[in-house]
């Protein structure tokens, strides 16, 4: 199945589930959407054919974890692991609403158990562990379960001598698990280090948005850091910065392009070229070079 066929099939599935359940105010059900960037109308058919990139302005719409995986993995190659690993509520956290309620509704809405999906796959025939975060799941924030699945990804890859490709999208560490979440930053960074010591490649793809404790840990520890156009990427959120320094932020601040300019990412890659680019990079990094 080609990527666009897959997206069409997926969209068809989505509509059967969505009908009557999510009828947005000014967007007739399942026919067209309004681009959040150029505000123009985009027909779903166009959006699907174009990998959910706005044909008018190039705005990259969010992808779900499985859309992302199907974009990158060789057809039929993805085998998820740790699919059932989920966070609990170890702190009994209640603020505004109980964390257990947030977890439940995130599971219901996304059909996922957590904010990241990981598994074995091939990309251009290179064996990899591939992971993708799903922002719909409590902002794909990193708590115990996300940290565990990311650490497992590096460990599986290290022991099976696979490369790692991770597509990030996250609001940062998950507040509702307190310090357990913060420590996942150290845990995932340590796991990434072990992969690096085994001289296995790691490519990260930073997508909109990648912030806080996810950026400040495994996301940027890759050998090659790619970013999608127009993604918001950084440590502190723009509002926190504005409140702290009491200044307006420069235009495009913390965008992929801005980070490229400041030397923080290797390349900004449009979605249509992402799979080819990752494949080429794996060819360079996964071949063992002159040591092979």
């Amino acid at each position: 199945m080609s990527i666009s066929d897959w997206f069409k099939a997926r969209e068809a599935r989505r509509y059967t589930a969505v009908n009557g359940e999510r009828v947005a105010g000014d967007v007739p059900d399942g026919v067209w959407s309004k681009c959040s960037s150029c505000k123009r109308i985009v027909y779903e058919g166009q959006l699907v054919a174009n990998l959910r990139v706005c044909p008018h302005c190039g705005n990259h719409f969010d992808l779900t974890a499985f859309e992302r995986i199907d974009l990158l993995a060789d057809p039929g190659s993805f085998a998820e692991f740790d699919a059932g690993v989920g966070s609990t509520d170890p702190l009994g956290f209640v603020a505004a609403k109980p964390y257990t309620v947030s977890l439940e509704s995130a599971r219901e809405r996304s059909g996922l158990t957590e904010g990241v999906v990981v598994g074995r796959a091939t990309i251009g025939d290179h064996p990899v562990v591939l992971g993708a975060m799903d922002f719909r799941f409590i902002g794909a924030s990193m708590g115990s379960a996300v940290g565990e699945k990311i650490a497992r990804s590096f460990e599986v890859a290290t022991s099976e001598r696979r490369a790692v490709v991770l597509c990030t999208a996250s609001g940062g560490a998950r507040m509702q698990e307190g310090m357990l979440s913060l420590m996942q930053m150290a845990k995932t960074s340590a796991a990434a280090r072990r992969l690096a010591e085994a001289r296995l490649p790691y490519i990260s793809v930073l997508t909109n948005p990648t912030m806080g404790g996810v950026t400040a840990s495994f996301a940027v520890l890759a050998d090659v850091v790619l970013a999608e156009p127009g993604a918001l990427i950084g440590f502190a959120g723009p509002r926190v910065i504005e409140q702290t320094i009491k200044q307006h932020l420069p235009k495009g601040f913390q965008s992929s392009e801005y980070l490229l300019e400041h030397g923080m990412v290797d390349e900004v890659v449009v979605r249509g070229q992402l799979t080819a680019r990752v494949t080429t990079l794996l060819g360079y990094l996964a071949g063992g070079g002159e040591r092979a």
């Binding site: 609990t88 603020a95 940290g147 840990s217 940027v220 440590f235 910065i241």
Partner: protein
């Protein structure tokens, strides 16, 4: 006399103490009734003192951890280490005063020391950015980590920061990158690493130098994924709910021992470390020395795998039925 910094929860006590102080200025010998009242007030104050400092809430401890007179990293360096040589700069951009880096000796043992550095007054705090490091601060820390690794020096870190600085330049110079690299480097050091929470443990900026083979916390220090104020304003749209949120976040030393993150708690004098710094220095010095002695002679690879196993064990997960 300098004005005493009064923390929210001790205000009623301080007000009574002030009243008592005024009464004691009066001529009491001629007024036995008033003298009796003063004596009663003194008893009341003692009882209140006891209850004020017993069973401190998480939010009370946050106040203590931020007390301006609380001993700072540089105070520990001066008090419990000898032959201190401070090292400066990240060799790339500048010298971030929010991080202190040094070679030092503790009880005859040569070590490398890293700490977040706050100031004692406004002038110092401006120079040190209130202990909030920029990327060059973390890159300076990494220089010292590499030095420790190269020369086999154990590393002692002192954690005391509200967080990494959220600013335009910090982002432009790669705040997230610097923290991530520091986490990675620290996790792989082949020398003993002792981390001690002496005050504020604010999020990623604290963690960048804030974990190791032993994580020890002072009784009234905190360590948190997010500041209670920021958490309250995100979840409740009301920073005033910080006290409530502080309890939820499980950020005290006791909470963190319960979660398996912190190994040891160092008790503080009643009211906080600033009430008797000398006592605290002695205790901290003893604990660091004991931890270093326990880890001394460890196989370097074993140290790294044990540290990894320790990190790896942190988290609570379940198998969710799909």
């Amino acid at each position: 006399m300098t004005r005493r910094h009064v923390m929210e929860f001790e205000r009623p006590l301080v007000e009574l103490e002030a009243k008592l102080g005024e009464l004691r200025q009066l001529e009491l010998t001629a007024n036995p009734e008033l003298a009796a009242e003063v004596a009663a007030l003194a008893v009341e104050i003692e009882a209140l003192r006891e209850s004020t400092y017993a069973d401190l809430s998480a939010w009370d401890r946050v106040q203590i951890s931020r007390h301006p007179d609380r001993p700072k990293a540089q105070d520990y360096l001066a008090a419990i280490f000898t032959d201190v040589v401070e090292l400066h700069g990240d060799r790339s951009y500048g010298d971030d005063e929010a991080i202190v880096a040094a070679l030092a000796t503790i009880d005859g043992r040569r070590v490398a020391v890293l700490g977040h550095r706050k100031g004692k007054n406004t002038r110092e705090n401006i120079a040190r950015n209130f202990g909030m490091a920029h990327p060059e601060g973390f890159r300076k820390a990494m220089r010292i980590m590499r030095l420790a690794e190269k020369f086999g020096l154990p590393l002692v870190t002192l954690i005391d920061t509200p967080g990494a600085f959220p600013g335009i330049e910090a982002e432009e110079r790669g705040q997230a990158w610097a923290i991530a690299e520091s986490l990675s480097l620290l996790s792989g050091l082949h020398v003993p690493v002792i981390a001690v929470g002496i005050g504020e443990g604010g999020s990623g900026g604290a963690l960048a130098i804030g974990f190791g083979d032993r994580l020890i916390m002072l009784e009234n220090s905190y360590y948190s994924v997010i500041s209670p104020e920021a958490c309250a304003s995100i979840l409740h749209k009301d920073a005033g709910k910080a006290a409530e949120v502080a309890t939820c976040l499980a950020m005290t030393a006791t909470d963190l021992v319960g979660l398996g993150i912190v190994d040891e708690i160092i008790p503080e004098p009643v009211g906080g470390a600033h009430r008797d710094p000398g006592e605290v220095f002695g205790e901290v010095r003893g604990r660091i020395s004991a931890a270093l002695a326990a880890l001394s002679g460890s196989d370097p690879d074993e140290l790294v795998s044990m540290r990894y196993a320790k990190l790896r064990a942190v988290g609570v997960i379940e198998e969710v039925q799909g």
